[in-house]
Symmetry: C2
Subunit: 200 residues, 2 copies
Amino acid sequence: MSTPSSLEELIEALRCLPGIGPKSAQRMAYHLLQRDRKGARRLADGMSHALEAIRHCSRCNTFTESDVCERCASTKRDASLLCVVETPVDMNMMEQTQAYNGLYYVIMGRLSPLDGVGPRELQLDRLLARACDGEVQEVILATNYTNEGEATAHYVSELLRSRGIKVTRIARGVPVGGELEYVDAGTLAQAMRERKNVEA
Amino acid sequence: MSTPSSLEELIEALRCLPGIGPKSAQRMAYHLLQRDRKGARRLADGMSHALEAIRHCSRCNTFTESDVCERCASTKRDASLLCVVETPVDMNMMEQTQAYNGLYYVIMGRLSPLDGVGPRELQLDRLLARACDGEVQEVILATNYTNEGEATAHYVSELLRSRGIKVTRIARGVPVGGELEYVDAGTLAQAMRERKNVEA
Ligand SMILES: [Zn+2]
Ligand SMILES: [Zn+2]
């Protein structure tokens, strides 16, 4: 009797947002319906549009609206270098350093056995195929220096080196336990310059 | 070159949610597109549906899908009592105490001069018209015991008493500075029972 069903459904649907519990979802729904219907309309439409338009680049796996993203399609990048990052945010961070002009592969996650995220869930075979295209001379692992990022780097390096591919890791200029997203560009540039071979 | 426009629009649109800054909005967008497209679809549809379906009850001003909400349409409630609350959440809290069987009026906000929210923005003339329907014998002010809630109660009581309507205020069992939404039902029931006349 208290809450209309369409309002209850909206509150429940808002909980798919990461970090949003029942109280926050309720507050958001009331705010949108009472104070910002225009913003809510824009959000509903923006989400629908993004769901239709956004796919993964067939080369680097990042979000894109085309089959191949602009960066992968560019002829101005050094195609012999492939930098592996966890997320599109990390890729943007790396770009901002202007210390790198190669291409990327975005894993869209990291190994996390406790959460059931293994090599299969991350489709790491796609990364392998991309790295073995014949053009790539060096794969630079730029996953986070967290436990999970380290485990991911270790797994990927084993995978690639068994195929005879040169694998490097960005230098540990990134603070131990830190995430690329929160590191300043100078530190990240240094880490890129000081990248080193991955030893067995 | 970095972020597809539909993704940028989604991130920007997510910022209409209260308490969500640029970093959170980006994280939410990536999460939805990468890990929970089904949830995102449900959210976009749920929001569209709620925007179409939800309006304000013409009697009590709460969210409803009909012209008059179920509670206002019920013949089992005591129509001589009108309890004024700030939000639908507060109304639900009051209902859960089972200490009250009258009707409600939901202001959908509170006076907040600093934010430009005055009597006109809250359409308090609608509350006045509702309270003066001839059936209402007592208006019970159950706004929060915050500064803004108190100011709202004061303003409304002046408005109604000038029309000769009996106005009471729920007892200050609610902690000073506290919000109804976070008070236990027992305290709230007590505050309802011990309501007292508003003196000049
Ligand atoms: Zn690409
Ligand atoms: Zn109603």
